[in-house]
Amino acid sequence: MTRAENGLPRAIKPPGLTCEGFEALLAQLDSDRERAGERYEIIRRKLVRLFEWRGCDTPEDLTDETFNRVARKLAEGTELRSSDPYGYFCGVAHLVYKEVLRRCSRERRAVEAGGWPSPESPSEAEDPHLACLRRCLDGLPRDQRDLVLRYHQEEGHIQNRQTLARELGIPLNALRIRVHRIRRKLETCVHEGLGH
């Protein structure tokens, strides 16, 4: 996600959508242009993840296609229900998903054919992610680094996590989300560190 000078997310028009269509889409999301841009980016990010969770390997393309269709519907006079604009996006995303299901299935079959990493960890010397991750871990505040490492410790990790949650005085799910926040920082750092 790119950001405007004011630090707010800048909405990027999906390919295949006219500027007018994109503006009409944003206008339906919020009357304030910047807030609409933020909402658009949130919906976009979530749709990408939903397509990923359904096993599609081109989630960005499918998300763009979803937005294009929603924008076309809006141009035809459909209005988003302000109480639940997400429901409409979700409905269109389902249609898109179903249409490409056969393609996804073919891709899945290709996936099943091999080329996937085995569960076994490669040796440290062979894993470029690990060296990068260690550098990123070093860049974290110590408490965050220790938390994420303790959370991922293999030995008795379920009890370990419960103990951690107790030590921090927070529910397990709050701990999960907290660790996830740190993990996302690491994900970004590793992504940048590996030059992607």
Binding site: W53, D57, L149, R181
Partner: protein
């Protein structure tokens, strides 16, 4: 709590592709709407990837994790990260220290206490100076000297910190008016500056007593400064002050963090009349969780 456990199970089944289509539909609509649920979904996804990388899942589950969660380029990167994290955690280059709460249990030193220390230091300096060298310090000059933070003659082996030195070593709240008032020994007819209460959004509860804050008579505004250490990523907060007897006595949304001299803080300015003597808790909605800190107010009558 039950719904959270149900969500946990529901999300896990969803991510593994074990939910019927109508439930998938309902859950995905909810995921789009509910940020917290969505974050929990991402957290559970990361755990499934880590479990797969550790070889903890059975063959069928492992296959579904691969096909559903690691089929995109981003998914593969997440799997690689999960694997690296497992390795780093099982073979750390440095041994992880015991984890302490991300936010300090108590910001140290607290501004209120620091001000008390500053005032005490100044008082000692004044008394000491008057006692040691009465002929050198005329009473009429004392106040202006303190106000200007100039040195006061003291005895050789007992260096008393000057207020400037104290300021250098102790981070100060950003209230110059308060500083002037407290440095002055003369009562003033001007309106009192806000009374500052500094609190930490500690998540570790039950280990400490509830702090009491005596609010001087005549105070019109109480300023609660909440230490945001560990929450710097968040840009907007909703805060409320609640009393067991009176419910919510103050609340405000869309609060942005402020950079005070001692760190990032959320500053709540509350009319003192809304805080009669009693126990309260300040609750801050920090995105994924509500952080609470109890405190007690004692209103001084004179």
């Amino acid at each position: 709590m039950d719904w959270k456990l149900q969500n946990d199970e529901l999300l896990r089944n969803y991510l593994l592709g074990d939910l019927p289509e109508d439930e998938v539909d309902r859950l995905e609509r909810q995921l789009l709407k509910d940020d917290e649920l969505f974050k929990l979904g991402e957290a559970i996804e990361a755990e499934l990837l880590a479990a797969y990388a550790r070889g903890e899942l059975d063959a069928a589950q492992g296959e579904r994790v691969l096909h559903r969660l690691a089929s995109s380029a981003a998914g593969q990167a997440r799997l690689a990260l999960a694997r690296s994290l497992n390795t780093a955690a099982s073979n750390p280059q440095t041994v992880p220290a015991p984890v302490v709460p991300l936010r300090r249990a108590a910001p140290a030193p607290r501004p209120v206490i620091r001000w008390a220390a500053l005032a005490a230091g100044i008082l000692i300096a004044v008394v000491g100076a008057l006692w040691l060298a009465p002929q050198a310090v005329r009473q009429s000059g004392v106040r202006s000297k303190i106000a200007d933070n100039i040195s006061i003659p003291v005895k050789q082996n007992a260096p008393i910190p000057r207020s400037q030195d104290v300021e250098k070593t102790l981070p100060q709240p950003d209230h110059s008016t308060q500083q002037n008032e407290r440095a002055s020994t003369k009562p003033t007819a001007e309106a009192k500056p806000p009374f500052v209460i500094a609190l930490s959004l500690a998540t570790l509860r039950g280990a400490e007593e509830i702090e009491k804050f005596p609010i001087p008579a005549g105070t019109s505004t109480v300023e609660i400064q909440l230490d945001l250490e560990g929450l710097e990523d968040l840009k907007s907060f909703h805060a409320a002050v609640r009393s067991k007897d009176r419910g919510t006595v103050w609340e405000k949304g869309g609060l942005a963090p402020k950079r005070l001299k001692w760190g990032s803080a959320l500053v709540l300015k509350i009319p003192a009349e809304d805080l009669p003597s009693g126990r309260y808790e300040v609750a801050v909605d920090a995105g994924t969780e509500e952080l609470i800190h109890p405190f007690e107010v004692v209103r001084e009558t004179r």
